[in-house]
């Protein structure tokens, strides 16, 4: 393998599963050259031949080290091609990169996992970890908001998790027709209704930036400490090594210091327009 971490390794697509209208989950070979097993919340750079490369978080069970699972929404030139890849086709893989969710640090605490839209994908790897190590964590609440009932990602799994006595799932949608029996409204508005213990809760949040901003406000209002709130940030990335400069958010290189960042590190910046 090249010592140049900019050079990808070819890996095969093992399976492809449609999740939503424009969202697919790919299972890839883990690759030989990858820099060790993925941790929940980390990401890989995935390259489609002749098209380009994008950062995608791991969405699978990271204990399954022989495969990599990524959930991709087809929104841009690269992600559209990625999402359309068929089994046995090849992608370029670099990674894993970045700092993931504070799984070890939050042992012994209650967890409030808050996802918006596709933000559930990077958090699913954290949920897998928690379920494998259920005894190490206190109460677990998953709060998930998405646009409409048709946009609920991993719907069967959410139901399965909700069946467990030791796992709470709350789902809310922005809008729905009369068939929808569940909640309607935005995620931050639900935070005060959950009745969790703010002093013993670690919050892990991933979703659109505006959703994270309001969720953080709601969490702080509920009494969660800034140091106990973790966000997975998204920025443009070209290298994932802290060299290309694109992902900077204040003093943070989202690629190597994040993507998961404790809120106290970005306090004051999250609410700034165009920062």
């Amino acid at each position: 393998m090249s010592d140049d971490l900019m050079v990808p390794e070819p890996v095969r697509v093992l399976s492809r599963q449609q999740e939503l209208e424009t969202t697919w989950t790919l299972e890839l070979e883990a690759g030989q050259a990858s820099r060790g097993p993925c941790l929940p919340g980390q990401f890989n750079m995935l390259y489609v031949f002749g098209v380009g490369e994008v950062p995608i978080s791991v969405s699978g069970d990271t204990v399954q080290s022989e495969t990599l699972v990524h959930t991709v929404r087809a929104v841009g030139p690269v992600s559209r091609k990625l999402a359309a890849l068929k089994p046995m086709e090849i992608v370029g893989l670099r990674g894993p990169f970045g700092v993931g969710w504070p799984m070890t640090q939050s042992e012994g605490s209650d967890l409030l996992i808050v996802a918006g839209g596709l933000g559930l994908a990077p958090l699913r790897s954290a949920v897998y970890h928690v379920l494998r190590n259920r005894e190490k964590y206190g109460r677990i609440i998953l709060l998930y908001g998405t646009r409409s009932p048709n946009d609920i990602l991993y719907s069967p799994q959410l139901e399965e998790w909700n069946q467990r006595p030791d796992f709470e799932v709350h789902i809310t949608v922005d809008h729905a027709d009369s068939d929808w029996q569940g909640m309607i409204g935005v995620v931050p508005a639900l935070v005060p209704t959950l009745g969790f213990d703010p002093e013993d809760t670690v919050a892990m949040v991933c979703g659109p930036e505006i959703m994270m901003r309001f969720t953080v406000n709601a969490l702080r209002d509920a009494g969660v400490e800034d140091e106990a709130i973790f966000l997975s940030m998204e920025r443009n990335m070209k290298c994932a090594l802290g060299h290309c400069g694109h992902c900077q958010f204040g003093a943070t290189f989202v690629c190597k210091d994040g993507p998961v960042l404790p809120f106290d590190r970005v306090r004051g910046l999250l609410s700034l327009k165009e920062f």
């Binding site: 900019m6 002749g50 802290g242």
Partner: protein, 378 residues
């Protein structure tokens, strides 16, 4: 090597011997020369390729070469080029991918850079190289392209004998005197009767090469003359950075009205980032053949002033010029310190000179500083 004082004096012929000695050791010597009415860095083999008898007049958005009344070889400040273009080149090929049936192979690009000898590296530029060392090889992730160039490079530094109209290294603590990080350091000693160069080594290889040159030991008079030259340069700085805690000043004033004011003038053209010797941002570009068999990825300089720079699905994070200028300046002067333990600015003045509308980073800091401190007094 710090305490071996081999301070010597060489003539202009001796300087040619130095160029020859470096070439003889396999270095590609790069130094200042005049091209297109500017002083740029190109390959040199002879001292008469240096900008002999030229100086430069620099101000915000202004650069003109002028004749000097003498034959000084180094009687000017820095031009639009910096050594960044050799150590962190504007374009580097990264790899080639070949698709054959359902196989895909990645082959790293061959990268055999020359061994560079940089001739006439100013104190501010040594500081800039030190900063890029931290950015590109100071962490777990090391840029192999930078490292292969940097580790082989031989640095002939130069104490500045003139300060340009946009220079402010003194107020950034980076110059005008060269302190460390060089193989050899020169000071040009020019008067009506003689044209000499005080030379001193800063590394084993530098000492070895110096020993090969025709030279005489430097006298106390030579040393005093060199010190006087640097002190005179220090007194001639065309600009100065306000002496205040700049990171806190900027980060506490991220919504100061001055950002809108500078955005009205800024063209978001990226010139400042291209000429800056520490700006390191890059992007990648893919090309592929028409048949779809091979694709190639290269890396090229990029700038936080472009709209693509911060693009994520749905649009750019920083659409306005105001947000881009704020990003550039707060990174350069504030968050850079958090990231790398040093300011990203060395006071070379290039961003002021080469800004088409003459935006002055020292003036922008001063405006916020003065406004905040006058507000505090009220």
């Amino acid at each position: 090597m710090d305490n071996v004082d081999d301070a010597s004096v060489i003539t202009r012929e001796g300087l040619q011997c130095l160029l020859d000695a470096l070439s003889g050791r396999g270095y590609m010597v790069v130094g200042p020369t005049v091209r297109d009415h500017t002083i740029v860095y190109e390959q040199l083999t002879r001292t008469d390729e240096l900008p002999t008898g030229w100086t430069d007049e620099q101000d915000g958005g202004h650069y003109r070469l002028k004749r000097r009344p003498d034959d000084a070889l180094f009687g000017y400040a820095v031009g639009p080029h910096s050594w960044k273009r050799f150590l962190h080149p504007p374009r580097v090929s990264l790899w080639q991918a070949t698709r054959d049936g359902d196989e895909l192979r990645f082959v790293p690009a061959r990268d055999d850079p020359p061994r560079y000898a940089f001739f006439g590296v100013r104190a501010c530029e040594l500081a800039a190289i030190g900063i890029q060392d931290r950015v590109l090889m100071g962490d777990d992730y090391i840029d192999p392209h930078y490292r292969s160039r940097r580790e082989q490079a031989f640095l002939v530094a130069l104490n500045c004998s003139v300060a340009g109209g946009t220079c402010f290294c003194d107020s950034m603590g980076t110059g005008p005197d060269v302190k460390h990080g060089y193989d050899l350091v020169l000071t040009e000693l020019l008067d009506d009767n003689s044209h000499l160069f005080l030379i001193r080594s800063g590394s084993a290889e530098g000492a070895e090469i110096l020993a090969e040159l025709p030279r005489t030991p430097a006298t106390a008079t030579h040393q005093a003359a060199a010190t006087a030259i640097v002190e005179k340069t220090r007194s001639q700085m065309g600009r100065s950075m306000p002496q205040t805690a700049i990171p806190a000043l900027l980060m506490d004033n991220l919504e100061h009205p001055r950002w809108a004011d500078v955005a009205d003038r800024c063209l978001s053209c990226a010139n400042c980032t291209m000429v800056c010797p520490t700006c390191f941002c890059s992007t990648v570009e893919d090309t592929s053949d028409l048949e779809g068999h091979t694709a190639e990825r290269s890396r090229r300089w990029d700038s936080c002033f472009t709209s693509d720079f911060s693009y994520i699905h749905g649009g750019s994070v920083r659409n306005s010029t105001q947000s881009r200028y704020r990003q550039w300046m707060t990174h350069k002067l504030a968050t850079w310190v958090d990231q790398f333990g040093t300011s990203g600015c060395v006071g070379c003045g290039r961003c002021i000179t080469w800004c088409p509308v003459g935006i002055d980073i020292t003036e922008e800091v001063r405006a916020i500083h003065d406004d905040v401190s006058s507000g505090a007094k009220e």
